[in-house]
Amino acid sequence: MGDWLRSWCSRIHAWARTASVDREFTAELDSHLEMIVDEHLARGMTRADARRTALVRLGGLTQLRETHRDQQGLPVVERIAQDARFAVRRFIKAPAFSLFVVMTLALGIGATAAVFGLADAVLLKPFPYPDPDRLVTIWEDDSAYGFPQNRISPFVFLQWTPRNHVFDDAAALTESSVNLTGSGTPEFLHAHRVTTNFFSVLGVRPLTGRAFVAADGEPGHPLTVVLSHGLWVRRFGSDPRIIGQDVQLNDARSTVIGVMGPDFQFLDSRIDVWLPSQWTGDYVERRKTDHFLITLGRLKPGVGLGQARDDMSAVSRQLAADRVWDDAPVLVPLRDQVAGRIRPAILMLLCAVGLLLLITCANVASLQIAYGAARVREIALRLALGATRSRVIEQLLTEHLLLSLVGGACGVAVAVWSIHLLTVFVPRGIVAVPLVDSRVLTFTAAISIATGIAFGVLPALGASRPERVTHLKHGSGLRRSLVVAEIAMAVLLASTATLTLRSFALLSGQNPGFRPAHVLTLQTPLALPRYASEVRRREFYRDVIQRIESLPEVVAAGYVTSLPLANSGGGSLVTFEHHPIDPRHMMVANMRVVTPDYFRAIQMNLRRGRLIDGGDGTDRPKVALINETMARESWPNDDPLGRRFKRGSPETDSPYWTVVGIVADMRQGGMDVPIRPESYFSFEQADFYAPDSLAIRTTADPAAIAEAVRREVSAVDKDQPITAVRALQSLVDLSVEPALVQTRLLLSFSGVAMLLVSLGVYAVLSLAVTRRTREIAIRVAVGAARGDLLRMVVGEGLGMAAVGLSVGLATAVMLARVFTHLLFGVQPLDPLSYAAATLFLIGVVALASYLPARRAVRLNPSIALRSE
């Protein structure tokens, strides 16, 4: 072992000094030669004879030097360098070919690298918290109400956390918002209200100051707040003296105790502040059945998910047995919680781009085989001059690898340019941004090498046997198979694209249940304690709406608790009058508090009965509207109008509401999320929620009135923050954006694949026509019709297509099941999509066959036969 190492060190040492090693050995040989000559001279030969015999006796000088050189230095490296230089010269001599290959490779490799960058950022890169694999989110199983993964209440949190044996600690948080007032413009801040152990469960420390301690969570303790880095820079000028200072949040003083680092975020990058939860016993009891907490636990080291699930189930079973709480816990690892929904779409993109890369490889391989046929002479000469077959293969492979590495380098540029297009697939909560970093570069290098070997091996093996290559038939069988494979993969890719296209068309073509155009939306969250009084709130709404509706371009304006497609909860248990109670099918319906003009503002359709209007005042009978889904599910056989229901369980003492109208279903969570039952109440009669979203219908462009609207709101309350100002249409567009981008991407991939297929078909058929020139000429000479010839060539092309299509479609059918999660409204085996893809591909192949066919037809038999 030591000897072997010594040898190699010696070789490397000599390789660094090749020239001087060579010179030294030449001198040594000369000296040796002279000594032999001396010997011969001593024996009486003439100088000439002595020298001649000496040379024979010593051996071939060139060969000796070569052997010496091979023993020293690193012949492998030198061979590769030599091959590379030779390859570069060849590429320069055939610029069109090389450029084409490099460009197709750049496209294929670049696209694959970009999609990998996305997959890496969303699915692979660890969260920026210590030991992120131990973080688990905890939910409650309320399937009976339609929420298999529901948030929990503080009561449940306080029952589960001390009793379990598998978590180091668990924290809970909920979304909140505060209005920052005081110096400067009032600002609406996104907040998370967290239990005081939140930062320690995550394992992160603030950049400056401190995180919460248990005391901060005690009711009555002076209020504290942790700032986000962005807020600190933006609002407080990165002043380190902010620690210990007070800020005015929701009209109350809070002391700033810490500032988080610039890259810190958890679940939401918009969070500006973290506030401590201060739960009193009374609060916990009062909100026992309110499900609003997101819970995060850190598993003890060495505890697996299965073990944790078992333990928590045992805890909840015990609680159920003690009649404390009935519902079972659901544990979901943080990664799955955040990225689980988008994972199938990303994997599908990866597969699609992988197919594209394979098609690219097949295309380049086919080209290389054809090109190899043109190098027959050169290779035959090399072999005759003494090169071994393996050396020739080595050289050819080096060429291919060089091409693919250059293609890969250009692919990096493609990836860098296109990766931002994929940001739309990054779900909220993922901190990493898809970009071309060292991991993606490593990946790109690896697939470049793999690609080079994939498309290089077969052509290299084939070309190294020149005796087989001379026949024009060489490789035609192989090239045909490659084209057939390309067609199969292309139809797979294309049918994926058409399925996605249909799915997207169906998704975005849906009636959202309202008219989004020309509507401006914004939020004016009313903070306690200023707006604690019901009366004050109503005054605010009335003032704002009156002022805004008096603006010239405004048609109608109305408040609602939650805009369409921005479903932010607000559901409540519903009990129907005179209905038998089925505990397994209790309904939870969305509760929406509105001002009367809201329906006109978003143009929601009334199906039956009447809308809520100004006449439904505080002292009038309590009325409500329900959507079609709620009508269908609660009174399937009866007329809902005139029926009554109340919020809460049967025992709850809450007022009954009378149904006076049924409105059309409206999309709440997203265009593909099933519609939930929903009910609407007038703001004069309902005080359980305070609406904060304003919708304003205008005659013109919504953006044009934004400034005027702001002024009016500030005129009513100058300290009221205004946030989320945007057109309603943009909410609709945003909800379908991932599907749109995905469709576009798949269509682009398919487009490129079709192009490559057409080139492949053209090349193969072109060669076939050339090969059969004589035969075609004879046919023409004996009177074959133009049509026959066309049929012959195009028929050959379509024959390849037939085989490719069968294989591709069969594979698609087998894989169809995988698709089910990804499509909306379309069956995975939708015949229309497959038919479209197939027909398109047949068209492409037919077109590509046309040019060679025309050439066959144009053949002049006398010229053709004579030239043979």
Binding site: R6, S31, H32, M35, G59, L61, L64
Partner: protein, 114 residues
């Protein structure tokens, strides 16, 4: 082109040649290429080296493994020549291989005497 059988024979002969070079250097002290080649011619004739130049392949191998060392000097006839000498490692290697050969020879002797 070399045949299969030629190649394997030459591998065996390579090893033997290396051993002979080591032994020769031990017995005769430092030698240059010509000196070694002449000795080899005397010992084995054309079997081990069809021409004198083949000794250099052996010398490079031995040098790379650190069993011999080289230095430029002057020959008997005042020519500049590169001399090769055994190193301590080389001596040890020689001893090991000699013992190995001896063992093989003993066994063969016993077998052939059967």
């Amino acid at each position: 082109m070399p045949q299969e059988s030629d190649r394997s024979r030459s591998e065996i002969l390579q090893g033997t040649l290396d051993l002979i070079v080591l032994k020769t250097l031990e017995a005769m002290g430092p030698l240059h290429g010509y000196g070694l080649a002449c000795r080899l011619e005397q010992i084995s004739g054309a079997v081990l080296q069809p021409n004198q130049g083949t000794v250099y392949a052996s010398l490079v191998r031995l040098h790379q493994k650190g069993w011999i060392a080289s230095s430029w000097g002057t020959s008997e006839h005042n020519r500049k020549a590169k001399f090769y000498a055994l190193t301590a490692r080389g001596r040890r290697q020689l001893q090991r291989e000699t013992e190995e050969w001896q063992r093989v020879a003993d066994v063969m002797a016993r077998v052939l005497a059967l």
